[in-house]
Symmetry: C2
Subunit: 661 residues, 2 copies
């Protein structure tokens, strides 16, 4: 340990040294100031490479490929595309036990949900099951999350149903509607895979967490409202096709007198009570997580049996009636590759694909963080994209990771994506042998299952936390929420995206600035608002700019600094203190500057010159100092006006201050 | 001055004090560390008000209204809308001398330019003159720039001409074309005024300087190419209507054998030579700025006279022939307020209005900085908008500030907007009495004048500087340039905007991070890349995050920090040094954090915990520390893990390091 020097001891020695060299024998301050470092000039290609790397390959996907033989690289490459090849070698019976239990659990949860979600997308129930067969298999081979449960999900089903039925009426043209659904699914997959391959995965980061919370909550309410029709047994053909709360409520009350069916309500309400109770138990004691997980299947079995023996369907209780038997038929020839529906399918696919991606990546990240393994977002996107492209050719609609089923999967102790394979096999067996059993399942039960499922998408706690932490985020959250609930899913989504972007733009155009003061008994300069005890140095105004200075904010930054100066001057006038003679700009947080930024600094310098105030810069970073020299600005204001720290800069101003009466 | 304490002396005392309290008698370090300040909780309304104020009223437009009587406030309000009322009181003969000279100079420059620019917009020549009459008057009353010269400009004329002729053929339907032009002008004005009134002026900051340089250069070349037809005397009706260089060159060479007119070329070339020589003289010696300013008018007079006596128009030299006499007719009833052209005019107006605004605001700012007066961007926009709305009703097309004429105005010694009024009067007199004199003016002269005018829009020096300072900016610049030259004006503009946005997005999603080391002989920690001599503290990794942590980058920031850690661990393994035990995140530049950011920090903390590394934060700002406490993250990681400076944080880690072998 002899080579290690304790920093604290070193400080002791050094501060003395600084004091010694700062003051010579005549008592006047002579500064031997540490020069601001200018990083060695990089060549253009390296500079460019570094930027590209940081932008698109920030996670160094090729790190493992370094220093390997060619064959090994090939193997690693194949394993990178199909992670199953690498983890299956370490697979063992113990892991399989976890996977089979969790696989069976999510299968029991997904079967009734799938049937309900397919209805939400205005598709026949079997398409929901189809989408829980092929996509999970593909994901198991290509995906790298160990906990995600793949299949149709409520929000994407709702979104797809809304967007598709804006184009084609699903009751009048069911065949065309299905074809458009497959087309959209195909392009959703293409979008996802393209983003992954082009390493543009960071684009989905532009949907802020707050906006997603609001959007999900709104979607949950919209979905629950949609279920009221089935839940109340309303048969009216005039039921609104709109999804906003006002239209739906109007339709419901209009049918209150003659359209509601008490038997349906009775069945629905009692099983909803059962499901919610199961949910409550699961929440209270995590040991009983399987209670809410199998409650839906139990409800389906019980209610189906009940309807079958009472023949309640003859008393107006709506039943599923028919689910086609057999596994996914091919749908390759059904995708629109030409005609007007091509572009419509493409647009819908892009939107649905992005929303599905956001959900899947959020889930993947959450569980990866919990179990502490790394997920490559871009690779995940390729896997999700591939799975939807294959899905679109095998009669599936857009599948993604489901929040509720993934949580159950996790709690049931899943170890790898094998749990998805188990689920997929159970779904296939259901499709092959059990579909006739669903004939008497009342639709009200499906409605109850969906309502109880989407309720957990309304995240009150997150909304409260958002309110506490960031009011602007809360506006985004509420905007998305009310947009979905009162207008439509698309508008809600649009509001969420728009507010997220507005926040980014505001951040970029209006960076924070602060005046600094000296913290007593230190040589540290800090924000005077945060540390009211920090003292200003008379005659010196210290301003910190908290952002890179780019074209989008250069003008604001310049004007804001001048406004700090005006404020200071006004204050000084009142107090008869010394006039401001030095303006120190603390540049530590200024990570970059562009041509507009340099122009702004030049203009600032000129404005200050007219007021005989000297411009002093403190601690410009490597990129900034380089550009200050390249643009000749450093020589323009004088190299001796650039210091390593604010303390150095103040010290250089102070002697002149002393000579001035 | 007894209350003033010399900071340098104070430092001397204080550093000793720090040393004393850092080390007690037993030689071990006991830290009495300065607590990170938590700013007093603001109430919600104030917080919100502050955000809104900083976003939309950053320049405090109501500063002067404070502490005034109601009557005074009313007067100030009227003066704010019509600045002429406040400056005209201080107007005197000396100022008028400057204004009349500069006014006459820019009038002599604008008359031939106006005629040429109107042709660029596919309008009759008088419309160019109309647009130099009404808009400058309105601007003089409402605008606050003293140097800007208002009128039609080359780039906006080109843009308008291109966009309008995409909709209506100006030769076949001249009346409809004009009406659409007035409609577009109306909406250009509405757009500008709306941006100003809603205080959204900062939106135009999103067009980066680099993109503008490229766009202007490209537009200049396109305009010059357009002039070749008139310059070479080509009469072919099949001359391309496209503006890209390839189409235009093809058309020119196709007509080379029979379509060129040598007399036209002779006149055009000799006067172009004269104009360029005048420009050169003006550039060499700024005293002779008036030479290039009056050269165009001299060329017009000479060439007109020459054509008149030689009757060169009978030998194929194209002449202006007819400019309608009389001042602007009303065009209120010509604006499309309904029908399909309403929306087309609206769209074109918005684009043209924004481009015009960008130019005017850039000019206004440049000259305001040179003479050191403040310009309220939003108020300027209202003035420009009002002037174009009034213009659209008086047969004007979009007017804005002209670069070349404003520079001449400035150099001729203009004092106030009165120079615009003088110019406007001269234009009116021309319209009333002199238009018949332009009958024999050869079109080749107008082409030569426009070519010599737009040449200065190609700013080589700026492009070279951009290349030197920022390579990404240079790509934006070149993208816009080649987009305009090789494709079209709209595409070039689109590329400019897209690249500008891409840069902002890149900035927001990929903030810089750096590892810090200790600068020898100080207690200052700085970027190890910039200061290679900075020493790392063994066992401690110090990372600085250079941006607010928002949803758009939270995930990247977290992963980047973990990657720094992996890099460090790999290095340490090789050197058999101590394992990293502390990760200090320097948060000074982190000005804000949102819910996603807090989540990312939590995830970071958990990942570190699994590796038994402690997370330590240094110097979180006021907003961040507040949110760290509100979200309970501060208590989660331990309040004693948050320090005022990196040095304090390192000192707190060091003793534990020392005990550890």
């Amino acid at each position: 340990m002899s080579s290690m020097v304790l920093p604290a001891t070193e400080n002791l020695l050094e501060t003395r040294e600084i004091n010694e060299r700062s003051f010579s024998s005549d008592g006047k301050a002579h500064h031997q100031i540490y020069k601001v470092g200018i990083p060695p000039k990089q060549n253009l290609f390296n500079e460019f490479k570094a930027t590209i790397k940081e932008a698109f390959f920030a996670d160094e996907p090729l790190r493992h490929f370094k220093d390997q033989t060619k064959l090994r690289k090939l193997v690693l490459g194949i394993e990178a595309i199909f992670p199953i090849l690498s983890w299956c070698r370490a697979y063992n019976l113990k892991k399989f036990r976890g996977d089979i239990i969790s696989g069976l659990t999510i299968a029991s949860l997904c079967i009734p949900q799938d049937i309900g979600y397919a209805k939400l997308a205005h598709l026949d129930p079997q398409y929901g099951l189809y989408s829980s067969f092929v996509p999970p298999l593909i994901y198991a081979i290509m995906g790298s999350s160990r906990d995600i449960a793949i299949g149709p999900v409520a929000v994407v089903s709702l979104l797809l149903g809304t967007l598709l039925s804006d184009e084609i009426d699903p009751t009048k043209q069911p065949e065309e509607y299905r074809r458009l659904a497959f087309t959209a699914t195909f392009f959703a997959g293409i979008t996802q895979a393209t983003l992954g391959i082009c390493r543009l995965g960071f684009l989905i980061d532009f949907l802020s967490h707050a906006a997603i919370v609001g959007f999900m909550g709104g979607a949950a309410i919209t979905i629950a409202l949609q279920q009221l029709k089935g839940f109340l047994g309303i048969k009216s053909k005039n039921f609104t096709t709109k999804t906003d709360i006002i239209s739906v409520m109007k339709s419901i009350f209009k049918t209150a007198h003659h359209g509601w069916n008490w038997q349906t309500i009775l069945i629905g309400a009692s099983f909803l009570g059962f499901l919610l109770a199961a949910k409550f138990i699961g929440k209270k004691n995590r040991k009983y997580f399987w209670v809410p997980a199998i409650a839906p299947l139990i409800s389906v079995v019980l209610s189906t049996f009940f309807v079958f023996i009472t023949r309640a369907d003859k008393h107006g209780v709506d039943i599923v009636r028919n689910i086609e038997k057999g596994i996914n038929p091919s749908s390759v020839d059904k995708i629109y590759f030409s005609g007007e529906y091509l572009s419509k399918g493409f647009k819908i696919g892009v939107v649905a694909g992005l929303v599905a991606l956001t959900e899947a990546v959020a889930i993947g990240r959450t569980f990866a963080a919990m179990k502490d393994y790394q997920l490559d977002g871009n690779k995940e996107m390729v896997a999700l994209g591939a799975m939807n492209v294959v899905g679109s050719m095998t009669s599936c609609y857009v599948a993604t990771g489901s929040f509720s089923r993934s949580a159950v999967n996790f709690m049931a102790g899943c170890q790898t994506a094998v749990s998805n394979i188990v689920m997929s096999i159970v779904v296939v067996l259901t499709l092959l042998f059990l579909t006739p059993l669903f004939k008497y399942t009342p639709n009200a039960i499906l409605a109850a299952i969906i309502i109880s499922a989407v309720i957990s998408l309304i995240d009150f706690e997150a909304a409260i936390l958002i309110w506490k932490i960031d009011k602007f985020d809360f506006i985004a959250c509420m905007g998305a929420f009310f947009g979905v609930v009162f207008i439509s899913v698309e508008i809600g989504l649009l509001i969420a995206v728009a507010i997220s972007f507005a926040k980014i733009l505001l951040q970029v155009t209006r960076p924070r600035t602060a005046t600094l003061g000296k913290i007593p008994r230190t040589s540290v300069y800090r924000n005077t608002q945060q540390y009211p005890e920090a003292t200003k140095v008379p005659g010196v105004l210290i301003v910190r700019v908290d952002s890179a200075i780019y074209f989008s904010n250069s003008n604001y930054v310049k004007e804001r600094i001048l406004r700090w100066l005006i404020d200071e001057e006004e204050q000084v006038k009142g107090d008869y203190q010394t006039k401001v003679q030095f303006l120190i700009v603390e540049m530590s947080p200024v990570t970059d500057i562009d041509t507009s930024g340099i122009h702004a600094l030049e203009e600032l310098y000129r404005s200050l010159q007219k007021k005989s105030i000297e411009l002093v810069l403190a601690n410009p970073g490597p990129v900034v100092i380089d550009k200050l020299y390249t643009s000749n600005f450093a020589n323009f204001i004088g190299e001796d006006k650039i210091f390593l720290t604010v303390a150095d800069a103040v010290a250089s101003c102070a002697p002149k201050m002393a000579e001035d009466p």
